[in-house]
């Protein structure tokens, strides 16, 4: 085994993750390799210092209120979904009524009616086109199940 291989074992040795046999073999290497022994000493020191650092735990009040904050988000999320769906439905319905009224109104000029219908037809074509493109690429995306 090279020193590089032993460097990989160094972390496991440091964190007490080696079995007895690996530990003994690694200690034999340490005894015969001053470079690895020096590295080991430095890593040990670093580990001791890092292990001394801990975070301040927040006061109990924070934990008591924690769930309420999460629940508020859940509740608001549901609220937003309902609100968005209802707003969309109302907008579509209102738009439909408005267009129907304009088309049925004899006072409105034919040119305006044709323009309005062309606008709606254009929007519909754009919507269908974008939707078809999305579905096409989604169905052929080999990475869609890859965790990002």
């Amino acid at each position: 085994m090279t020193c590089q291989d032993h460097k990989d074992l160094m972390m496991a040795y440091l964190d007490d993750e080696l079995n007895e046999e690996q530990r003994r073999a690694f200690e034999e290497h340490l005894a015969s390799c001053p470079d690895c022994a020096k590295d080991m000493e430095e890593f040990k020191r670093l580990k001791q210092m890092t292990d001394c650092v801990a975070f301040v735990e927040p006061e109990d009040r924070v934990w008591n209120e924690y769930w309420n904050h999460v629940y508020n988000r859940i509740e608001r999320g549901t609220g937003w979904i309902l609100f968005s769906l209802a707003a969309m439905a109302l907008l579509i319905y209102g738009g439909f009524l408005l267009i129907e009224t304009i088309i049925a109104d004899p006072a409105v000029g034919v040119l305006l009616k044709i323009g309005l219908l062309a606008l709606l037809a254009g929007l519909a074509i754009l919507f269908v086109s974008v939707l078809r493109e999305r579905i096409y690429f989604w169905s052929r995306d080999r990475y869609r199940d890859v965790r990002r």
């Binding site: 460097k7 990989d8 160094m10 972390m11 496991a12 964190d15 993750e17 430095e42 890593f43 020191r45 670093l46 580990k47 001791q48 210092m49 890092t50 292990d51 001394c52 650092v53 801990a54 975070f55 301040v56 735990e57 927040p58 924070v62 934990w63 924690y66 769930w67 904050h69 999460v70 629940y71 988000r73 859940i74 999320g77 965790r147 990002r148």
Partner: protein, 214 residues
């Protein structure tokens, strides 16, 4: 997978899950983003997203590894946004946005600059029983890149075994060992670099073991 399988409402069942994992979630987020407010916000947002997508969880026993992916992605994305905002602000301070041609300074200059930007948001007050040596370590941890900081936090602050870390990180134990090696190597370099600048209190990485000041 259904959230309520023992006569509880989904809300009650999820409340139990949140209460079981909230401390770990908060402390991991704190290690990754470095300040209390962001850590609370991001850990709570992660629970909300976990609730929303609970049906994507395959097995009840695997909640925390699955949840951890949501949490870490949120934290990393938050750090990226913070970095972009910070870069934009510093460009503005330097007299307006630079074109890509102007940004062709050496890569090492960019690398040297990034830790300082990250460091600004890492609050030293989050460390318990602060002293000079602990502050120095926390500062150095804040300068690690995300993947390396993550393994240091999981190992030293969460006391996870390699096996547990491998489960959380969806990788094998060899990868965990290798990341830990490079993370600690980098930590040593940062501390060495800091100590090479003149400092009256310098020992090797600060006051010697046992001689820490409270």
């Amino acid at each position: 997978m259904a959230l309520c399988d023992s006569g509880q409402s989904p809300r009650e069942a999820f409340e139990v899950i949140v209460k079981r994992h909230m401390k770990d979630a908060y402390l991991i987020a704190l290690g990754l983003v470095g300040n209390r407010e962001d850590a609370l916000e991001l850990s709570q947002e992660a629970f909300y997203r976990a609730y929303k997508h609970y049906d994507q969880l395959n097995s009840k026993g695997k909640f925390f590894p699955w949840f951890y992916q949501i949490l870490r992605n949120l934290c990393f994305s938050h750090l990226r946004k913070r970095r972009v905002r910070r870069n934009y602000e510093s460009q503005m301070d330097d007299g307006g946005p630079h074109t890509s041609d102007c940004d062709c300074s050496s890569q090492s200059a960019v690398r040297n600059r990034q830790p300082i930007e990250l460091n600004d948001h890492f609050d030293p007050e989050v460390v318990a029983e602060r002293n000079e040596a602990k502050d120095r370590i926390w500062r150095a941890i804040s300068q690690l890149d995300e993947k390396h900081r993550e393994v240091i936090i999981l190992r030293h602050f969460q006391n996870l075994s390699y096996e547990e870390m491998a489960k959380l990180l969806f990788c094998n134990q060899g990868t965990v060992t290798s990341r830990l090696f490079y993370a600690r190597q980098r930590l040593k370099e940062i501390l060495d670099h800091e100590m090479s600048s003149p400092d009256p209190e310098s020992g090797v990485w600060g006051p010697q073991k046992g001689g820490q000041t409270s």
